[in-house]
Amino acid sequence: MGRVLEVDDIDVYYGELQALWEVSLHIEEGEFISLVGSNGAGKTTTLRTISGILTPRRGKIIFAGKDVTGWPPHRIAQEGLAHIPEGRQLFPRLTVLENLKMGAYTPKAREHFDETLEFVFTLFPRLKERRDQIAGTMSGGERQMLAIARGLMLRPKLLMLDEPSLGLAPKLVQRVMDTLRRLHEEGLTILLVEQNVRYALELADRGYVLETGRVVMEGGGRELLEDPRIKKAYLGL
């Protein structure tokens, strides 16, 4: 078991506006980590910094043993990071299969395209039926499944998901969460950002709580769920 990700004391700015203060977190191989917090707490900013869309002004990001601070997103992806951003971000005018092919764009992923595709199709049989459909014409739930499937095609060392439940009916949210649980059981390392704090912490081995750009709490998933402050602030209990 090794450390997949280490975020070490980062400060991140949007122009002159500071969005993250001294954020540190780490993920071990096979762990399921949830990042929770209210709107504007800096969850998305954290993911965007890890994947290289934003560069921290201070601090370091170590991914899969390499210091990737300041690397462009495509280089970090090639190291095995799959970031499924908010709002799916599919290629709307490519077919389902073409979207999945692009998931396996990196040389390492391309080598295993056939077997990964088979795995992804057993996970989401619906995508197999719709493989030749144009992605933009599918329903919200199907698009979220395609977004997750496309991320898996990269054969990631770490799968990061930003609000996968956003805009989905409760039944579909349950489907997505069940899928994540199953992937975790099969050994995938996952970093989940979710508004739905209950789901997120129930699934997680450990969780981090962000507030106004700072990590204010961390601990086991269940442990955080039982914490009176979390109950009051996020679960309305």
Partner: protein, 291 residues
């Protein structure tokens, strides 16, 4: 009474000519679709390639179609040089900046050519220049036919590249969602360079083809640049199939209108058609819904 034979004749040459126009416009369409920059120098790259064919034919006796292949290669190299040296530096700037950059390239190439080679009209006459093929009573210009076949082959090759190869699909993916592409390991900058190179290479190929029946002057690019804009908008931005069909429509419209009105007016017909279609369907004939 319109002569049906004449109409059939005009339609046939229009379709052939349209295939060649389509290749000119496909280059522009690809660059616009992926990089979202309007390449005003597009027609002048075409002109350069026409001169290349002219010189190779006149001084070395090389067939202009060999010149077209070399024009394609010259386009690749020129595209690489200009994209890396200039365009890449201004990508993401306000549109006026990229417009000024490509417009400057236009001026430099066009008037550089005029200074170097003079303003006079040059023509080259390969064996098929005046050759006519008689197909069941329809007379076809050999130069049009050969040009159309090469254009068709190039279009099919481009289609296969864009739909069957990882790199080709990545090019389309980058044009649809740059951020998502980068998050999957696609180097968007490389894709931009590649699309610019292919775009200029296609117009380089078309230049060699056109030189077999079209006059060569330093200002020839202006007409083809405008024509390409019309074709791309007509077919719908971002749709390569639309661009190809747009080329055919403009080719046929020009040839048919030449029956009824003086040939100097043929571009007017193309532009009126263009405005009419835009009034009826602003996204172009095959315009795709935006993301």
């Amino acid at each position: 009474m319109v002569d049906l034979w004449l109409l059939g004749q005009a339609t046939t040459s229009g379709l052939l000519l349209g295939c060649i126009y389509a290749v000119v416009a496909l280059g522009l369409s690809l660059i616009w679709g992926v990089m979202e920059i309007v390449n005003f120098a597009h027609g002048d790259f075409l002109m350069l390639s026409m001169y290349l064919s002219y010189f190779l034919f006149t001084y070395l006796g090389l067939d202009p179609l060999v010149g077209a292949i070399l024009g394609f290669l010259m386009g690749l190299a020129l595209g690489l040089l200009i994209e890396k040296g200039l365009i890449e530096k201004v990508l993401g700037s306000p549109p006026i900046v990229t417009i000024l950059v490509t417009f400057s390239i236009l001026l430099i190439i066009r008037y550089g050519a005029m200074a170097a080679w003079g303003p006079g009209v040059k023509t080259l006459h390969p064996w098929y220049f005046m050759a006519i093929l008689d197909l069941w009573g329809v007379r076809i210009s050999m130069a049009y036919l050969i040009g159309a076949l090469i254009s068709l082959a190039a279009t099919i090759a481009l289609h296969i590249f864009l739909t069957r190869t990882y790199t080709g699909i990545a090019l389309r993916a980058t044009s649809q969602n740059r951020l998502a592409a980068e998050l999957l390991g696609i180097d968007a900058k490389k894709m931009y360079t590649l699309s610019f190179c292919i775009g200029v290479a296609l117009v380089g190929l078309a230049g060699g083809i056109l030189s077999t029946f079209y006059y060569v002057i330093p200002e020839v690019g202006g007409r083809f640049c405008m024509l390409s804009f019309v074709i791309v908008v007509l077919g719908g931005f971002g749709s390569l199939l639309g661009t190809f069909l747009g080329g055919l429509i403009i080719g046929v419209a020009e040839e048919i209108s030449a029956i009824f009105i003086p040939p100097v007016m043929k571009d007017v017909v193309a532009f009126i058609l263009f405005l009419l279609i835009l009034m009826l369907k602003p996204s172009g004939l095959f315009g795709e819904v935006t993301r």
